[in-house]
Amino acid sequence: MSKPLIEARGVSRVYADADGGGVEALLDVSLEISKGEFVSLIGPSGCGKTTLLRLIAGLDEPQRGEALLDGVKIEGPSSERGYVFQHVNLFPWFTVEQNIAAGLKARGVYKERKDDVKAFVRLAGLEGFEKSYPHQISGGMAQRASLARALINDPKVLLLDEPLGALDSFTRFALQDIILDLWEKRGATMIFVTHDVDEAIYLSDRVVIMTPRPGRISEIIDVGFERPRHRNDAGFMKLRASILEKLNLVGERKAPEYFL
């Protein structure tokens, strides 16, 4: 492997919890991701996926260890690291078009790149909805808009935090292909958080399996399959079974850890 584009070196992050103790959201996590790679993070709720993504984005700082981009320590957010949030996070006072253009305006390049906004609206399949407000469009459309909003900055890395989590499976499959398409065309490195094993295998070069309390990487799996991939291939199914097993999601039915 060549020099990694993104590197986490022994990052740890502890959050104070309500009764004065600490939650080890991440403990001594190290991960290397090379340029152009598509990596998925998968694991049960609370295993620190969002925390890791936020550290790479520069939105939070690790208490120990460091995250690096191109060998340089990440010390704050920047437009070279795009972020698509777990909860759709469009600005409600902007139209779809203004939301997509927000990154260009933030960097002061809106005038030169005005035409790009149209191109990204088209890319996200939102023609005809340019002037709509976020509350007037569907969840899938909103997620496409936030994808476009993050991509318009031409980030070196795109951090996607369960972008498809809240969508129905039709929209989900369609968006998975859109994301793959974007990835192949634009060559951005992708770090993709998901709860869905199929999605992880379908999309990624590598699947990073994480475990909670403390948040750690338990295993990294290379998905060697040719693209385009088929969800019903024997190899696909086998890999899915083995990942599910690693996540303790198959086999005997266990007593639930918590009740509602």
Partner: protein, 236 residues
């Protein structure tokens, strides 16, 4: 015409007579002038102070804890003074700045000193309610702190800032009436001079109508403006 020797009904009717309004009308203009200028000063000062209070707090965009603490202490001091005491306190200040200690402009200083801290707290509480995710989204796309303040925080909280400003304007109106006693003129002055000292209760009535109408108007305009914004965002 006094309520002491005239039936209520007659005083009430007389309060619509042009005679009752003769001295009131110029006073309305004085009041509007004072309220207008004070509101502009309060708006600018309050937004700036409220922004500084918000962004410098420990979890803020640019945490400067000592500045936050000292400003907060000053604001609390100013807010703990009853408005009448503030007016009296500001008399020497007005003399220092304007060369005279009475009149409309002198009172504006007292009004601003009392209303800026109040509005600043309202601005602060609106801005603190901003959803953290929106600020994160803006940071992640490379926005500067300055852009986050003016392109995210203020637009996001605009409906609630407008409601806060409505409250502030109404406070200014009521304090302006009080300032009338201290040589500022205006509706409050008329109400005291005619209604209290000369027992011309029909003038007092007329003054009350004007104040009520003014407050209603402001509240209505404020509600409408914030409603339009919320509607546009489909939040109501």
């Amino acid at each position: 015409m006094s309520l002491l020797n005239t039936p209520f009904w007659e005083v009430f009717l007389a309060s619509f007579d042009p005679a009752a309004w003769k001295s009131l009308v110029p006073a309305i203009w004085e009041t509007l002038y004072m309220v207008g200028i004070t509101c502009v000063i309060t708006l600018v000062g309050g937004v700036i102070l409220g922004l500084i209070l918000t962004v410098t707090n420990t979890f803020g965009l640019l945490p400067i804890v000592w500045l936050n603490r000292s400003l907060s202490a000053v604001v609390n001091c100013l807010r703990s003074l009853p408005q009448m005491i503030m007016i009296i306190l500001m008399i020497p200040v007005a003399r220092m700045i304007l060369g005279k200690a009475y009149g409309v402009n002198a009172c504006i200083i007292a009004l601003a000193a009392s209303c800026i801290p109040m509005f600043a707290r309202l601005v602060e509480s609106s801005l603190l309610e901003i959803e953290k995710g929106k600020v994160d989204a803006a940071k992640a796309m490379g926005s500067s702190s300055f852009q986050i303040i003016f392109r995210i925080m203020i637009p996001e909280t605009l409906p609630s800032l407008i409601r806060g400003f409505t409250v502030a304007i109404i406070a200014v109106i009521s304090m302006t009436a009080l300032a009338g006693n201290f040589g500022a003129g205006g509706i409050g002055d008329i109400a005291v001079r005619f209604g209290f000292q000369r027992f011309q209760h029909e003038v007092l009535f007329a003054a009350v109508y004007v104040l009520v109408a003014l407050v209603q108007l402001v509240q209505f305009a404020g509600d409408a403006a914030s409603k339009i914004l919320l509607k546009k965002r489909h939040l109501i």
